[in-house]
C-alpha cells in the first residue's frame, strides 16, 4: 500500500518539526459540491455510513426532510434542507451536503493540544486520529463549521475523513461514487476550482443566477471541499454556511501571543526569583529564629 499520499504536513500539539512538511510536490485533493444540481436524495449519506461502517443512530421526524439537525459523531455527511424565499417571492429549495470542509488552515488542528490527534496530510486531507485524542473538545471550539462531534461513550471526536483510506488507494470518496446526478466531483484542487468556476459562469450567463459563484473561503486558507452556490453572496441561506469563516480570533490569540507571553513570563519569573535569592537571600537568619528542638525554622 502506497502511503505517499498520507505523508503528514501538519500535526496538532506537536513539539518540534513535522516529518512531512514541505517534502512533497503533491496535488491537494478537493471535493466539489454543486448545490444547484443536488436533489437531496441522501445517497451520499448512505454511502458514507456504509463505507465507514458507522452504527445507526435515531433520526427525528418533524414533518420536514431534515431527519437530524446536524452531523453526528456517527453521521459525518448530512444534507441540509432549506426553504428560501427570493426577492421576487418565488421559492427555492436549497440542499447542501454538509461535512468537514478540510480547511487548508484547520482551526480544529490549531486548537488541539494532543500530539498527533489531528493531522493534515500533504494531499490536504484533515484527519482525526482517535487513538491520540484525549477528548478535550478544543477542536470543537477551533472549528468555524461546527463539525467535530464527541462520542459520549468513548469521549473521542469523529468527523468526515474525506475517505482518506480510499483516496490513499487512488479511489474517490464513497459519497462521490454514489451521487446519481453527478453534482459531486473529486480531483485536484486546481481542476475542481476550474470546473466550479465554469459551472458558476454557466449559471450566471444561461440560468439567470447572476450571483452564482464558488465557495472556497479564504479566511481558512481555502477548503478541500468547495461549493457551487446559486447565490454566492449569501451563503448563510444554505443552512448557515458562514459567509466569511475564520478560526475564532480568541483561539488565535490563545495559541499565539498568549502562549508566548505566558511562557516568557513563567520562565522570566523563575529566573527573576532565583536571582533575587542570590542577591538578597532569606529575610532573617538571627539566633532568635531557631525553632523548637533547635531546628532551623
Amino acid at each position: 500500500m502506497s502511503q505517499a499520499t498520507l505523508r503528514v504536513q501538519k500535526i496538532s500539539g506537536h513539539a518540534g518539526s513535522v516529518p512531512g512538511e514541505d517534502t512533497q510536490r503533491e496535488f491537494t485533493v478537493c471535493k466539489l459540491i454543486d448545490t444547484t444540481t443536488c436533489i437531496g436524495c441522501k445517497a451520499c449519506e448512505v454511502a458514507c455510513v456504509e463505507w465507514n461502517d458507522l452504527p445507526f443512530g435515531e433520526t427525528v421526524f418533524d414533518n420536514t426532510y431534515q431527519t437530524m439537525p446536524q452531523t453526528r459523531w456517527n453521521y459525518w455527511n448530512l444534507i441540509l434542507f432549506n426553504e428560501h424565499e427570493r426577492e421576487d417571492g418565488s421559492l427555492m429549495w436549497l440542499m447542501r451536503k454538509n461535512q468537514c470542509m478540510h480547511c487548508a488552515d484547520p482551526g480544529c488542528l490549531a486548537a488541539c493540544p494532543a500530539d498527533g490527534a489531528i493531522v493534515q496530510y500533504t494531499n490536504g486531507i484533515v484527519d482525526f486520529q482517535q487513538a491520540n485524542c484525549i477528548g478535550c473538545g478544543y477542536c470543537i471550539t477551533g472549528c468555524p463549521f461546527d463539525i467535530p462531534k464527541m462520542n459520549p461513550k468513548t469521549h473521542r471526536v469523529f468527523k468526515c475523513t474525506l475517505c482518506t483510506d480510499r483516496v490513499s488507494e487512488g479511489l474517490e470518496p464513497a459519497c462521490i461514487k454514489s451521487c446519481p446526478t453527478g453534482c459531486l466531483h473529486f480531483g485536484t484542487k486546481d481542476d475542481m476550482k476550474d470546473l466550479a468556476e465554469k459551472r458558476a459562469k454557466q449559471l450566471r450567463e444561461h440560468s439567470n443566477f447572476p450571483n452564482a459563484g464558488v465557495y472556497d473561503p479564504p479566511g481558512v486558507g481555502g477548503t478541500g471541499v468547495i461549493y457551487v452556490l446559486h447565490d454566492a453572496s449569501n451563503p448563510e441561506i444554505y443552512g448557515g454556511l458562514p459567509s466569511n469563516p475564520h478560526v475564532p480570533w480568541t483561539v488565535k490569540l490563545w495559541k499565539g501571543p498568549l502562549k508566548w507571553l505566558g511562557n516568557v513570563a513563567m520562565i522570566g519569573g523563575l529566573i527573576g526569583l532565583f536571582v533575587h535569592y542570590l542577591r538578597y537571600g532569606p529575610k532573617a537568619r538571627e539566633e532568635e529564629d531557631i525553632g523548637p528542638g533547635g531546628t532551623k525554622t
Partner: protein, 220 residues
C-alpha cells in the same frame, strides 16, 4: 483582646489551627495537580507531564474534578479568612514601602497584622482567579453541550482559563518563594501550626500584640 490560648511553650505561638492547615494542603495538592495537567495541555513541550501522571486522557478526566476540589478549598479559605483579608490604611502604607520588604529591610516596614498587604493580595488574587477558573473550566469541561449560538462562551473560556491560570502561576511562584526560601519559619507554620515569637514580632507585630495582649507577657 488577647488570645493566651494561642501561646504555646518554648516561645512559640499558634498561627494556623488544624482546619486552616488541612485546607491549605488540600488547596496546595489539588492546585499542583491542576498546574501539572493544565500545563501539559498548554504546551506541546510539556505534554509529557500528562503522560507521567497516568496518560493524557486520564489527566483530561481528572483535571476538572481536581478543579472542583481546589475551588471548594479556596471557598473554605474565603469563609475562614475573608474578614481578616480586608484592605486597611495600614496596607496602603505597606504597599508604599514594598521596596523595603522586597530588599529584606524589614525594620523599615510599617507593622503588619496577621496578614500583610502582600499576603492579602495573594489571597484575593487566588480567590478571584479560582472563580474565573471555575466558570471557564466548566465550559471547557463540556464544550460539546454548548449550543452553537452560545459558542462565544467557548471562545471566551479558552482565553480566560489559561490567562487566569497564568496569573495564579505568578502568585504561586512568589508564594512558594516567600514561604519556603525567603521567610524562614513560614513553612513550619503551615505544617506544625506554630511560629516563633521572633517570627511573629518581626513579620506580624500587629498580630503579635493582639495575641499577647498589651499587659500579659509571653510565657517562655
Amino acid at each position: 483582646m488577647s488570645h493566651p490560648e494561642q501561646i504555646i511553650p518554648h516561645g512559640h505561638i499558634l498561627r494556623y489551627n488544624l482546619r486552616e492547615r488541612l485546607t491549605h494542603w488540600v488547596a496546595a495538592a489539588s492546585y499542583m495537580y491542576l498546574l501539572a495537567t493544565g500545563l501539559a495541555f498548554w504546551s506541546p513541550w510539556l505534554f509529557w507531564m500528562a503522560v507521567i501522571l497516568g496518560g493524557a486522557p486520564v489527566s483530561r478526566i481528572l483535571h476538572p474534578w481536581a478543579g472542583l476540589i481546589f475551588f471548594a478549598s479556596v471557598w473554605m479559605m474565603y469563609v475562614m479568612w475573608a474578614p481578616q483579608m480586608k484592605h486597611t490604611d495600614a496596607d496602603r502604607k505597606w504597599w508604599a514601602a514594598v521596596r523595603y520588604y522586597s530588599t529584606n529591610q524589614d525594620d523599615k516596614m510599617p507593622p503588619a497584622g496577621r496578614y500583610n498587604a502582600g499576603q492579602k493580595f495573594l489571597f484575593w488574587g487566588f480567590f478571584w482567579s479560582a472563580v474565573a477558573l471555575l466558570a471557564s473550566g466548566v465550559v471547557l469541561w463540556f464544550p460539546e453541550y454548548i449550543p452553537w449560538n452560545l459558542r462565544f462562551l467557548r471562545y471566551l473560556s479558552i482565553l480566560i482559563h489559561p490567562a487566569a491560570a497564568l496569573f495564579t502561576i505568578g502568585l504561586f511562584m512568589i508564594h512558594l518563594y516567600m514561604g519556603i526560601f525567603a521567610e524562614r519559619g513560614a513553612f513550619g507554620s503551615v505544617i506544625r501550626g506554630d511560629v516563633s515569637i521572633a517570627f511573629a514580632k518581626r513579620y506580624h507585630p500587629g498580630w503579635y500584640d493582639e495575641i499577647v495582649g498589651e499587659s500579659s507577657s509571653p510565657r517562655k
